[in-house]
């Protein structure tokens, strides 16, 4: 017979009993209130899917979450009932020594197994859908190459190379091929779907079809060294027409790399020079007196032109070309750093960290490691005048 001996307990002080659930209830309520009060917006959220891939994963997650909530309520509920109902009270009889019950054991082995089947079936379906290469013959191939700590994007079918800012046409399958130039990274645009590791010595695949236009945020999800946190990227999902225009612009050689074109009409200039990117306030139409058109389609005053050309000279002579490419300038053919042919057209610099403004570009040129610790790009020890000229030149590379 079982004798949980009462006399053993008399030694310990009999303590005030705090209802066990009160604090927990309070804690849960507090957390719920706090969470509700710190809602978004969450522009990088996996819970706001914007592609077929992301929607599929979100549906799967919500299905699993539903079962998780049911199990949570049932099991935590049983725990709470046990705590309150079977608490030791004055006059409670000694509990009966029950050693087990095979039927119960079988049922609570089978019940979770059934729930798991309900989770496993859609899981396996999803795996076989997302883990195989796309069969869409119209898929647009984008090669994404991970570098410490930036992203290179190549469109082999379109002859476009860019960095940290990926443009995609909405509604078309994007077949992303992932390789790494150094260590393991992970490609992740939460609103476009799940992540896929970018592994040196292998090519990985990921495909999705964006279902809305806009700018989407992503970042490296595998720890890749000192500035892993600063390895971000953006994806511009746009209409097929906008995308075609972007491709067209990206394929054009950059400013100052071709013989000057004949002066454009003011209408063309308006189309081409989209605004505020020219240094020192490149002009929109009509062109000011004395300005001349250049290949970028940007109107410059002679003074601005002088600065930009000085910038180009500095670019070619300060070591930049060892790592950076600017299409159309044969000397600038470096491959270690981002292709800068159209750097002026990008929304951000330094892999999504800084808005692309002349001030930020100047700060970056002054000391890249201050913006991105450990970055391979050295501080070139440039004087302020050269930095201004370089900034002007890079800015006009639309």
């Amino acid at each position: 017979m079982h004798l949980p001996p009462n006399e053993r307990m008399t030694v310990t002080r009999h303590l005030r009993r705090v209802p066990a659930g009160v604090g927990r209830t309070l804690a849960v309520a507090t957390i719920a209130v706090l969470l509700a009060s710190c809602g978004g917006p969450f522009p990088q959220s996996a819970l706001e899917p914007a592609s077929d891939f992301a929607v599929l994963l979100d549906d799967l997650f919500r299905g699993i979450f539903f079962w998780a909530v049911i199990v949570f309520v049932l099991v935590e509920g049983a725990l709470l009932v046990a705590i309150f109902r079977f608490r030791d009270r004055e006059g409670r009889r000694r509990p009966r020594a029950v050693h087990g019950n095979t039927l119960l054991e079988i049922s609570w082995t089978l019940a979770p197994a059934l729930v798991l089947v309900l989770i496993a079936v859609p899981t396996f379906r999803a795996i076989w859908s997302v883990d195989r290469p796309t069969t869409d013959p119209d898929a647009l191939v984008v090669e994404a190459i991970g570098h410490q700590w930036w992203w290179e994007f190549r469109y082999p079918e379109l002859g476009v190379v860019t960095a940290n800012e990926m443009h995609v046409p909405v509604g078309r399958t994007i077949d992303v091929r992932l390789t790494s130039a150094d260590v393991i990274h992970s490609f992740w645009f939460p609103r476009a779907g799940g992540k896929r590791d970018v592994i040196p010595g292998r090519e990985n695949h990921l495909w999705f079809r964006m279902d809305s236009t806009g700018v989407f945020y992503g970042q490296c999800a595998e720890f890749c060294g000192l500035s892993h946190a600063l390895m971000k990227m953006e994806m511009v999902s746009e209409t097929p027409e906008e995308f075609a225009a972007w491709v067209e612009a990206q394929r054009r050689p950059a400013f100052g790399t071709e013989p000057p074109a004949p002066p454009a009409t003011s209408a063309e200039a308006t189309d081409d020079a989209d605004g505020d990117a020219a240094p020192g306030g490149g002009q929109e139409s009509p062109p000011p007196a004395g300005a001349e058109a250049d290949t970028g389609g940007v109107w410059l005053t002679p003074e601005q032109r002088r600065i930009v050309e000085a910038g180009q000279q500095a670019f070619l002579s300060s070591g930049c070309i060892a790592c950076h490419r600017v299409a159309g300038t044969p000397a600038a053919a470096g491959v270690l750093g981002p292709d800068l042919t159209h750097v002026g057209s990008r929304r951000t610099i330094a892999a999504g960290i800084l808005e692309n403004t002349p001030e930020n570009m100047a700060a970056w040129l002054r000391d890249p490691a201050a913006v991105k610790p450990g970055v391979l790009m050295p501080a070139l020890d440039l004087d302020e005048e050269t930095i201004r000229a370089l900034t002007a030149w890079l800015d006009i590379l639309e």
């Binding site: 004798l3 949980p4 001996p5 053993r8 307990m9 303590l15 005030r16 066990a20 604090g23 849960v28 706090l34 969470l35 969450f42 522009p43 990088q44 959220s45 996996a46 992301a54 599929l56 994963l57 799967l60 997650f61 699993i64 979450f65 998780a68 199990v71 949570f72 099991v75 725990l79 046990a82 705590i83 079977f86 608490r87 509990p95 020594a97 087990g100 019950n101 054991e105 609570w108 197994a113 798991l116 989770i119 899981t123 396996f124 999803a126 795996i127 076989w128 883990d131 992970s186 799940g194 992540k195 592994i199 010595g201 292998r202 990985n204 999800a221 720890f223 060294g225 000192l226 946190a229």
Partner: protein
């Protein structure tokens, strides 16, 4: 009173009746082979490193308290998160579990000591010196900074020059020696030294889980040892196992690491499942419900644990077949885990629950572990996991399992067995305050991290930009972590207060069922004057369950093995050799090897008993 006096020495109080048990100076602690003293030293050192790892976590949380904070630079941050993970896994939770193995297993099976007492001391000293070696990196050019998982090829000399990764590679190998020696010791102890009548299916659950954990250790550690040796060869001798440019494979490391790494999770978890399976029956005053099912489910979890490693690699692109198989095996683990939870609840059901502090922590463990288990099922789905892996969602998950789970259970164990270890009761009021504070702070810290992850915040990032919606929840998490740190101070205060003037503990303060409660608190150095004869799974609860007076004063005092300094000297030799490897100094390495050889010789020829 003698107790106060003894307690004031060395912080490990003794009861007057226990006499000379914990007496003696520093040398007696350095040379001891007594499993109880070794257990206490394991506990003290492990708790020290728990505080170190906790401080590292607090620095991490302070940095993340606000966006684009410059409080901690990325170089230090990466060292901190690497060392936080490494420290908590290898230097805090594993040795805290080892503290319980050491102190309790011989008592629970009615033995004088473990099978190999000197090997036991050796395990302790290798752990202590290995831990110091690993942390010495902070003073010599920086701590390891490639994550506790150390993914190749970031760990190559090209991307991680300097000694940081070498400290990690060598430190983990040293700690592996300690773990394997201890595991072999406990397997032999449990299989061979059980009291007469204690069949395997009468063993206390904690001893069972110790046995299962020990098998996990000896089977899992070789995988990481192989990985570490290959990495050491890559770094030191220029081989190319993990160098893709020369035909090596970076994924080889991931497979080797996680074939170790997932069983390692169960190495961390199973002792806690054992502790909870002891605490709940005692305070429910009812035997464990479904004992064989709880035992078998523990074995099954350990077995399945070897077949799930690639669920850490779902985003690697292993292909649909591998991802389907590893999803399925991972989901299977939910079944035995659920069986354990249901049996614990069924144990309480119909019981008469006495809510002392250990039960608070055990129930807190179940409540939090359910959440960690459910989020685990969420990313057992390989597809769903593509959004969750490497985000704060997983950070939340592992902390619900390893903090809400394991740490709560270890505190349950500390409150439960502290009286046995020290002869003093811990304060109940402070204990409950500690529990509530820790429960609230824990949830405040980690619950928002589920949302952070789902909203797109990756792990292992030293900062985040404003405007992504991460600010408020990170701040909550940081506030929670500070509160969590405070709750640990409350516990420390409880310990200090109790060692100074705590209520003396009787032999059996809780009405437990197992053999450790038959002898004095703290136990005499020989444990049992007469070997117990056991007739039941709950020998103290069943009439005739134990028919020997284990404290019979008429029985002669059992002979005990004599102290030895050699285990410590061997450990010093191992760390010296590692230092030679670290600095590529052949002379130092050879000196270390010489010390090892001489001290093993000395060890082998030193008589066991004086």
């Amino acid at each position: 009173m003698a107790a106060t006096e003894a307690a004031a020495h060395g912080g490990a109080g003794a009861r007057a009746t226990a006499g000379k048990t914990y007496g003696g100076g520093v040398l007696s602690w350095l040379t001891t082979v007594d499993h109880k003293r070794i257990g206490i030293m394991y506990a003290v050192f492990a708790f020290f490193f728990f505080l170190v790892g906790g401080l590292e976590a607090l620095l991490i949380r302070l940095q993340l308290g606000s966006p684009e904070s410059t409080l901690i630079d990325p170089d230090l941050y990466n060292q901190l998160f690497t060392m936080h993970g490494t420290t908590m896994v290898f230097l805090a939770i594993m040795p805290l579990s080892a503290a319980f193995f050491n102190f309790l297993v011989p008592l629970q099976i009615g033995a004088r000591d473990v099978a190999f007492p000197r090997l036991n001391a050796f395990s302790l000293w290798v752990f202590v010196l290995g831990a110091l070696f690993l942390n010495a990196s902070f003073l010599f050019g920086g701590a390891p900074d490639a994550g506790w998982f150390g993914y190749a090829n970031l760990t190559s000399t090209q991307y991680s020059p300097g000694m940081r990764i070498d400290f990690w590679v060598l430190g983990l190998q040293i700690l592996g020696v300690s773990s394997i020696a201890a595991a072999l010791n406990f397997i032999v102890t449990i299989i061979n030294l059980r009291a007469p009548g204690m069949s395997l299916m009468r063993m206390p659950l904690f001893t069972w889980m110790t046995l299962v954990t020990s098998f996990l250790l000896i089977l899992a550690f070789p995988a990481i040892t192989v990985g570490l040796v290959l990495l050491m060869f890559d770094r030191t001798f220029g081989t190319s196992f993990f160098n893709p440019a020369a035909g090596g494979d970076v994924l080889l490391w991931q497979h080797l690491f996680w074939i170790f790494g997932h069983p390692e999770v169960y190495i961390l978890l199973l002792p806690s499942l054992g502790i909870v399976s002891e605490v709940i029956p005692t305070f429910s005053r009812k035997p464990l419900f479904g004992y064989p099912f709880v035992v078998y489910s523990g074995i099954l979890i350990a077995f399945l644990g070897f077949g799930v490693w690639a669920h850490h690699m779902f985003s690697v692109g292993l292909g649909p077949i591998a991802n389907t198989v590893f999803s399925a095996t991972t989901m299977l683990i939910a079944i035995p885990t659920g069986v354990k939870i249901f049996n614990w609840i069924a144990t309480m059901w119909g019981g008469s629950l006495r809510f002392r502090t250990p039960l608070y922590f055990a129930v807190g463990f179940i409540a939090m572990f359910i959440i960690g288990g459910l989020s685990g099922v969420m990313h057992s789905s390989a597809a769903s996991d593509l959004q969750q892996t490497d985000t704060y969602f997983v950070v939340a998950h592992i902390h619900y399992v390893l903090f809400g789970g394991v740490i709560f259970a270890l505190f349950a164990g500390i409150y439960y067995w502290f009286p046995k270890m020290t002869g003093r009761m811990l304060g109940e009021g402070i204990g409950k305050a500690h529990f509530w504070l820790m429960l609230v702070a824990f949830n405040l810290t980690f619950f928002p991290q589920h949302y952070l992850g789902l909203h797109g915040m990756p792990r292992r990032t030293f900062t985040y930009q404003a405007g992504l919606g991460f600010e408020a929840m990170n701040l909550m998490s940081t506030v929670g972590s500070l509160l969590l740190g405070f709750s640990i101070l409350v516990f420390l205060w409880n310990v200090i207060r109790s060692l100074r003037k705590g209520e003396p503990a009787p032999r059996d303060p809780w009405g437990g069922a197992t053999l450790e409660w038959t002898i004095d608190s703290p136990p005499p150095h020989f444990n049992f004057r007469r070997a117990p004869q056991v007739h039941s799974r709950d020998p103290l609860w069943v009439e005739g369950g134990l028919d020997v007076d284990v404290n019979d004063p008429a029985a002669p005092e059992p002979h005990m093995p004599s102290p030895s300094l050699w285990p410590l000297v061997v450990a010093v030799g191992i760390v010296t050799a590692a230092t030679g490897a670290l600095t590529t100094s052949l002379a130092v390495a050879l000196a270390g090897v010489a010390v090892i050889l001489v001290s093993i010789y000395g060890w082998a020829f030193q008589p066991l008993e004086r």
